[in-house]
């Protein structure tokens, strides 16, 4: 176990040492397809479709790449898929209607947002037991974890808050009001900031993790689109903390943001209803899920141009990439 931890720490510290060109499997949850599509990142082709429970949404992968976790929202469970066989090997007691979750950096604890019960459920992945249930605001959704694993942030969509939770006590320490329907929370890799997207508010709030106050609000302006069509959802920030990508929902674009100045530098047109994002381990490519066009788009992060779109299942929602 100790050995395993050291390896993980090393991997976390040196994320870019992996050789480019490695094929990584990309796992996409198809909300209406009740399936996971597996795409080979090198050939950018679908290699497998795995049938899962009803309404799969949140998806993540263990740090060692062996297990994919999927929220089967309408089955009130989290399913575990063995990546070597593509078979469902277990379930976790997620509580009702799990939508999104986050795995602790050590891979041992899963924090699940239970949208219908105003709770965050904490699950020990090894024992598959519920450790705690934390009452939060109305319609909890977004989940972020600090790089040191000490803090998680949950967003509640109707309460319009980011709740900061201490992972050692499972108590809420701070509640930060953000704009309408906060969807996603993402820590900067250095832990200094948490970015929270507000789908209906149309903004991303940058919260200072020290003061726990909103220090900046990023807005979006796309020529020819009404502000109501710009609905930020998924967020990813590059490992060096310099660049951020925000999926803009029905605006059909991914915003590229200078994460130091908060300036929006570019809008990348991908597919319809862009929902979530995931980086390839080398950071050279980012993948978006485009719900209504039933595809995912690979974007080159050097040029911020789309490389290729790949058709997956019905209503792709989330995406996770196997580590090297």
């Amino acid at each position: 176990m100790r050995h395993h931890m050291c390896l993980l720490a090393a991997a976390a510290a040196l994320p870019f040492l992996a050789q480019p060109g490695w094929a990584n499997m990309v796992y996409v949850s198809n909300e209406k397809g009740n399936s996971i599509t597996v795409v080979d990142s090198t050939s950018m082709e679908v290699v497998k479709t795995i049938d899962v429970g009803q309404r799969p949404r949140g998806i993540t992968i263990s740090p060692d790449g062996k297990i994919v976790y999927v929220c089967a929202s309408d089955d009130d469970t989290v399913q575990m898929i063995d990546t070597s066989t593509g078979k469902i090997v277990g379930t976790l007691p997620s509580g009702p209607d799990p939508e999104l979750f986050i795995l602790s950096p050590d891979g041992k604890t899963l924090y699940v947002a239970n949208e219908n019960d105003n709770l965050v459920t904490v699950i020990n992945v090894e024992t598959r037991a519920v450790v705690a249930e934390i009452p939060v605001g109305v319609e909890p959704e977004g989940m972020g974890v600090s790089p040191d694993g000490k803090t998680i942030v949950n967003t509640s969509e109707t309460t319009n808050m980011a709740h900061f939770i201490d992972t050692s006590t499972h108590q809420i320490t701070d509640n930060v009001l953000v704009d309408s329907r906060p969807r996603y929370a993402q820590f900067k890799p250095d832990g200094s900031e948490v970015w929270v997207s507000a789908e209906i508010g149309g903004t991303v709030s940058v919260i200072d993790n020290k003061t726990r106050a909103v220090k900046h609000k990023i807005t979006f302006d796309i020529q020819g689109l009404r502000s109501e069509q710009i609905q930020p959802v998924g967020i990813r920030i590059s490992a060096d903390g310099k660049k951020a990508y925000v999926a803009l929902g029905p605006a059909n674009r991914v915003a590229v943001i200078n994460a130091e100045t908060y300036e929006v530098e570019k809008y990348v047109l991908v597919g319809q209803r862009v929902w979530q994002l995931a980086f390839m381990p080398d950071g050279k490519t980012i993948i978006s899920t485009n719900g209504l066009s039933n595809d995912i788009t690979f974007i080159d992060t050097a040029t911020d141009e789309p490389i290729k779109s790949v058709t997956v299942g019905q209503l792709p929602w989330g995406v996770a990439v196997a580590p090297n």
């Binding site: 209607d97 949208e115 219908n116 105003n118 009452p135 605001g137 109305v138 319609e139 509640s156 969509e157 109707t158 309460t159 319009n160 808050m161 709740h163 108590q171 809420i172 320490t173 701070d174 509640n175 009001l177 309408s180 329907r181 789908e199 209906i200 508010g201 149309g202 726990r212 106050a213 009404r226 109501e228 069509q229 609905q231 029905p250």
Partner: protein
């Protein structure tokens, strides 16, 4: 007698009481354990929201359409519970104060009692006439009213008031939403069948206006007189089966039949009984409304299951209109950290204000008459068929302003 039948300071449901329990537990926890956390330093806010209702059981042609006893109030209760879940993090507490009068009663005495009890924000589910009887008294008393029931355009036009916000859509918004869908379908030749009551005629007016706005033609109109005989009876169905085909005989060529029968006298009998086989829309058949009990888009699943869990039934339009009004107040009180009328009113009237209500985009108020802009759902008894505004109906400022009376045409002059 002032017509006051029942008054109570509601929280009735278990869930609601449980919400209170959580609230107290959490507030004390926060202040005891985390004095440094920024939310516990805030003073506590006690927000009373009043709910004035003129009620009597309504008749309907189908037993499925009889409004539930708690229509509207249930939506407000769910919003109060939502507000309290949020409020527990900020030391804010919300309560609902429901007062019910007879349907056609003078509501002024009941209203004055609510004001005397300290209600400064009141949701009103009353007729246009009743609303106007209290609007100016409310203004003098520093009370904000939220019209959650009346669809009368006149309340947003000639009789608009600066202290009355409307979360109910207008008849013209509903008719325009429906008309856009019909025009998008290329069903441009309409027959209009309307009832003989005042509200039926107002709905028919809204349909005529929509036809001229969106390029449809009403090829013929027919009036159905209410003679008090058509209601649901043992032999009624047999009679109606023979009556409706005759009533719709010898019409010019048309694409759809629009019924304007808010009074539920004949409209629900029209579908499947027309002389020529045509879709029926309007107040029966395909209906335009602010909400649909089967709407699950845009996170709607969440509010629908929350509502069903708390009330044991599906959510109707008036529930959504009441929920939205009580959530608007919750949002304003949360953001301003105050339940003072002035602060709340200023916030709702500011450019910063918007509310999320499971309709795919933020909702805002028209600042020329304080009508809430909102998409209109087009659905039948089974599900949502479409949502207006339809693609292609463009507007200089907001596509939502293609529904209903727009700023350049408004007769509202706010003072």
């Amino acid at each position: 007698m002032n017509g006051l039948v029942m008054k109570s300071t509601v929280p009735i449901t278990l869930t609601f009481l449980f919400g209170f329990f959580l609230l107290f537990v959490n507030v004390s926890e926060l202040s005891a354990q985390q004095p440094a956390a920024n939310q516990s330093a805030k003073p506590s806010v006690d927000a009373r929201i009043g709910y004035l209702r003129a009620y009597e059981p309504q008749l309907a042609l189908s037993v499925l359409d009889i409004p539930p006893r708690d229509e509207g109030v249930a939506g407000a209760n769910v919003a109060i519970s939502d507000n309290n879940t949020t409020g527990k993090f900020l030391g804010q507490q919300f309560t609902l104060d429901v007062t019910e009068t007879k349907f056609n009663a003078d509501v002024v005495p009941a209203f004055k009692e609510m004001v005397a009890r300290g209600d400064r924000f009141i949701l009103a589910d009353v007729s246009a006439k009743q609303l106007l009887s209290i609007a100016d008294i409310a203004k003098d008393a520093g009370v904000l009213l939220f019209n959650i029931g009346a669809t009368d355009d006149i309340l947003r036009e000639e009789e608009c008031r600066p202290n009355v916000f409307h979360t109910a859509p207008t008849r013209s918004m509903l008719a325009d939403g429906l008309a856009q869908y019909l025009v998008w379908k290329q069903w441009r030749k309409w027959v209009l069948l309307y009832g003989s009551h005042e509200n039926d005629k107002l709905y028919a007016d809204a349909v005529r206006r929509a036809a001229s706005r969106f390029g449809a033609t009403i090829v013929e109109e027919r009036l159905y007189e209410d003679r008090g005989t058509a209601r649901r009876t043992d032999s009624g169905v047999v009679l109606v089966q023979q009556q409706m085909p005759v009533f719709t005989q010898n019409l010019p060529e048309h694409d759809v039949v629009i019924v304007a029968d808010e009074s539920e006298v004949f409209g629900s009998y029209v579908p499947y009984r027309t002389w020529t086989p045509r879709p029926v829309v309007g107040t029966a058949g395909l209906v335009a409304s602010s909400w649909h009990p089967a709407s699950e888009q845009w996170g709607g699943v969440q509010i629908q299951s929350r509502f069903a869990k708390m009330t044991g039934r599906r959510m109707l339009s008036k529930d959504m209109q009441a929920w939205t009004a009580a959530r608007i107040l919750g949002e304003a009180i949360t953001r301003t950290k105050s339940a003072e009328t002035k602060q709340v009113e200023d916030y709702i009237k500011s450019d910063e204000f918007s509310i999320a209500a499971f309709k795919g985009q933020k909702l805002t108020f028209r600042n020329w008459n304080w009508q809430l802009r909102q998409p209109i759902l087009i659905g039948d008894g089974h599900g949502v068929v479409s949502t207006s505004p339809q693609a292609g109906f463009l507007h200089q400022f907001s596509e939502l302003d293609t529904l209903g009376v727009d700023r350049p045409e408004t007769k509202c002059r706010l003072k």
